[in-house]
Amino acid sequence: MRLLALALHRLAWFVPTLLGLLVLTFVISRVIPADPVALVAGETATPAQVEALRRQLGYDRPLPVQFVDYLARLARGDMGTSIFTRRPIVQDLAHRLPATIELTVVAMVVSVLAGVPLGVVSALWRNSPLDHAVRVVTVSGLAIASFWLGIMLQLLFAMRLGWTPLNGRLQGFPPEAITGFYLVDAALTGDGPAFGAALRHLALPAATLAFPALATLVRFTRAGVLDVMQSNFVLYERAMGLPRPVIVWKYTLRSALTSTVTQIGLLFGILLAGAVVTEAVFDWPGIGTYAVSSILQSDYNAVMGFTIWAGTIFIVVNLLVDVVQTLVDPRERAT
């Protein structure tokens, strides 16, 4: 019941939050001194020619009129078209989403599967050489710039060792998509080589994304486990003679993971909104690079469309994090 109330409360705020975001993005994109109409008209266009194109595209209308028109179309599921390509924004986003989602999911799986156990182990053997080594890894993960890491991984694994491809989602053009998730599509069609190829192409960008995420998860897990290990109920369990693995993996971890779960959710949301640098280094055809080129060109509709996507993701992810928190932590259910 509490969960339902929580979900409804969050969903009720979804529309006003998104609306506020849209207003802010709309105004900022219109007032910054970059004119996409002039870019489209070309570098040799005179002011008169630019204004003629502006009228043709409807960007000469007052801003409130443009915004209301945009909202009316959005209510019908129409995010408009790109000033530059004339392609529907919905089509562009839908085309690129699978690439970002697939990369993010793989990166998060790797960082969770590696990060949580490392955090636990680091806490249990606190101040041991293992703990120190793990902390070097976590500090590196947070300090190293992802573009540098990506390039170094390319140099080592793609160029020197030849174990992985250099960039892209697949060598050349992809086969016709079923879901757009190459691992899923390959599994559905039973295409082993395609599955292997997709996985090899995912390796370096996923590792680049996973490393800082892993570092964050290790730190939060370690801190959480250390904190819980000090508590009275753990002391009681030790006194009762429960085996250490049982204390740690059955009782301690559940309490210690509440903050880690929050971080997993937030990281997932951040990455889904577009891992721009990683996508740029590896030419990953996802949302991140689309967002950057849209912003640089001031492609109004594309910027708004990306904002809707990113805003929705954060709202949904935050809701899911709260739901999972409530499920994991009985204290949340009791309040």
Binding site: I32, P33, A34, D35, P36, A38, L39, V40, A41, G42, E43, T44, A45, T46, P47, Q49, A52, L53, Q56, T81, S82, F84, T85, R86, R87, D92, H95, R96, A99, I151, Q154, L155, A158, M159, P165, L166, N167, G168, Q171, G172, F173, P174, A280, V281, F282, D283, P285, G286, T289, Y290, S293, L296, Q297, S298
Partner: protein
């Protein structure tokens, strides 16, 4: 025990396998790594170097720029005539040219294509619209198209290659809400070019297969399939060339990356002088830069040799005038400015205006070489005792600022590329006062004598008259230090070592692949 019948079947199978044609020989492929995304396949929506591969490989025009120095070669047109008043251009078209869908190309397709460009107001429209009006282009007969100019314009023929011909019947079929088929063409093609589109992904690039029925004869060898792929990072393009993932990439890489590629065993660097001037625009309207002596002082304060030879390792050619060295119209007697602080101080002493505020120097974010040039300039000005302030913007924002004298920085450093091979592309569009409001004319320079010379050059079809006019205009502009011209770019094009037939032109940058083939 295998019976007789099974043996017979097996033998028959073996015989058939032996006599049947063997599997088709492997097709040759070529992959080009491109910095810019191919976000649209519409040849009339873009007029930039970044997406030129679409226009050159999938489409044809009346004429085509080839080789270096660039020559205008008949392409879809067999010939043309110009009326004595310079207003009417009549082109006779080749017969039997086919679009990729098999339809025959006629004069109506030319007419439609010109009208489409003007109606869409994108790409080359801004340039064409200064010369032809909507509705003025006529299909005189099935193989004759006529353009009537609004005023004589000597550059019309130089610009006409940008009228890339589209299949009008195909586009009319896909027209929606009067959009000239734009929504459809952005992800498809309607051309007659050497290659035919087979795959397109706006997030990846495009693949095209050889169009065997192209009107221009193919050589003995060719590339069967071309792929142009978006690879944003310089480093990734370079590594990909070394690894062999790509067989070509853009030729304006940083010097250190070119050095890496020279050392790769499977890469060769094709070196050509291009037509792409690096320069500082000076805001001639803003005090104290409206004083010619201040501008001359600034011109003497830039260390040209230090920048070109030391920082850029001698990979560029000093270009002291506002027209590329290798273009006609350059006054060869003009040596331009040198780095000379004594002369700079002498000019400052003559200036009536006092330089009592920081000189703002704008450069482009993401283009480190512009930052380097701005820093060298700032260094020189500081040695004169002048204060400076560096400011950077991304390209779209800088273009916007440069359109008005009030918002443009005092100096802005960038490149002027070749949109068409005519001096007007540089000096005409930069220094005619009628061009104010375009980013190229952000010098806001105004000299009635120069305007007159440029008008003469634009109107006359006599090459000698035009050449003298551009030379005289260039002399004045240099003498008045309306801008600072640093170098002409060299093209260092990385290509796979076993590729031959590459034909570089400053318009196109070697990205027309129909000439290219694998030597072995």
């Amino acid at each position: 025990m295998i019976d007789r019948r099974s043996w017979l079947v097996a033998v028959l199978a073996l015989v058939l396998l032996a006599v049947l044609p063997s599997a088709a020989a492997a097709q040759t492929r070529f992959v080009f790594a491109n910095e810019s995304p191919y976000d649209t396949m519409d040849p009339h929506a873009a007029f930039d170097v970044g997406r030129v591969a679409v226009r050159l490989n999938l489409y044809d025009g009346l004429y085509r720029w080839l080789d270096n120095p660039p020559k205008l070669e008949p392409w879809l047109a067999e010939s043309h005539t110009v009326s004595p008043d310079g207003l009417t251009y009549t082109f006779k078209l080749r017969r039997g040219v086919k679009f990729h869908d098999g339809a025959e190309m006629t004069a109506e397709d030319l007419r439609y294509s010109a009208e489409r460009i003007l109606a869409m107001k994108k790409g080359a429209a801004a340039l064409l619209a200064t010369m032809i009006a909507p509705g003025s282009t006529k299909a005189v007969d099935r193989h004759t198209v006529q353009f009537t100019l609004t005023k004589p314009a000597a550059i019309f023929l130089a610009v006409v290659p940008e009228v890339h011909v589209v299949n009008s019947a195909l586009l009319k079929k896909h027209e929606k809400d009067g959009d000239w088929g734009a929504a459809w063409l952005t992800s498809n093609e309607a051309g007659s070019g050497s290659y035919q589109l087979s795959r397109y992904d706006p997030a990846v690039g495009f693949i095209a297969k050889r169009f065997a029925g192209h009107f221009m004869p193919w050589g003995q060898k060719w590339i069967d399939e071309i792929e142009f792929r978006t690879v944003k990072e310089d480093n990734t393009r370079v590594l990909g060339m070394i690894k062999g993932d790509y067989q070509g990439t853009g030729g304006y890489l940083p010097n250190d990356q070119v050095k890496r590629l020279r050392e790769a065993a499977n890469v060769k660097i094709v070196e050509q002088e291009s037509m792409r001037i690096k320069m500082f625009q000076i805001n001639n309207q803003r005090p104290p830069l409206n004083d010619v002596h201040v501008r001359r002082a600034i011109s003497y304060a830039f260390d040209y040799d230090g920048f070109n030879k030391d920082i850029l390792g001698g990979s560029v050619e000093r270009n002291p005038v506002p027209i590329p060295n290798n273009m006609w119209g350059v006054p060869r007697d003009v040596k331009g400015y040198t780095y000379n602080l004594d002369k700079a101080k002498a000019e400052l002493a003559l200036a009536k205006a006092k330089v009592d505020r920081p000189i703002t120097i704008g450069y482009l974010q993401g283009f480190s070489q512009t930052e380097q040039a701005a820093t060298v300039m700032a260094n020189g000005l500081r040695k004169l005792g002048l204060d400076t302030k560096l400011t950077s913007e991304v390209w779209p924002t800088m273009v916007e600022r440069m359109k008005k004298p009030e918002t443009s920085p005092d100096l802005v450093v960038y490149w002027i590329s070749t949109y068409y091979a005519d001096p007007n592309n540089w000096i005409g569009e930069m220094f005619h006062s009628g061009q104010w409001g375009t980013f190229k004319a952000s010098s806001f320079y105004k000299n009635p004598k120069v305007d007159e010379l440029l008008d003469v050059a634009l109107k006359s079809t006599d090459r000698k008259v035009r050449e003298k006019a551009y030379q005289d205009a260039a002399r004045i502009v240099v003498d008045e230090a309306a801008g600072i011209w640093v170098y002409n770019t060299k093209y260092f094009g990385p290509w796979a070592k076993n590729l031959e037939g590459i034909r570089f032109s400053p318009i196109g940058n070697g990205q027309e692949i129909r000439w290219v083939y694998y030597a072995k």
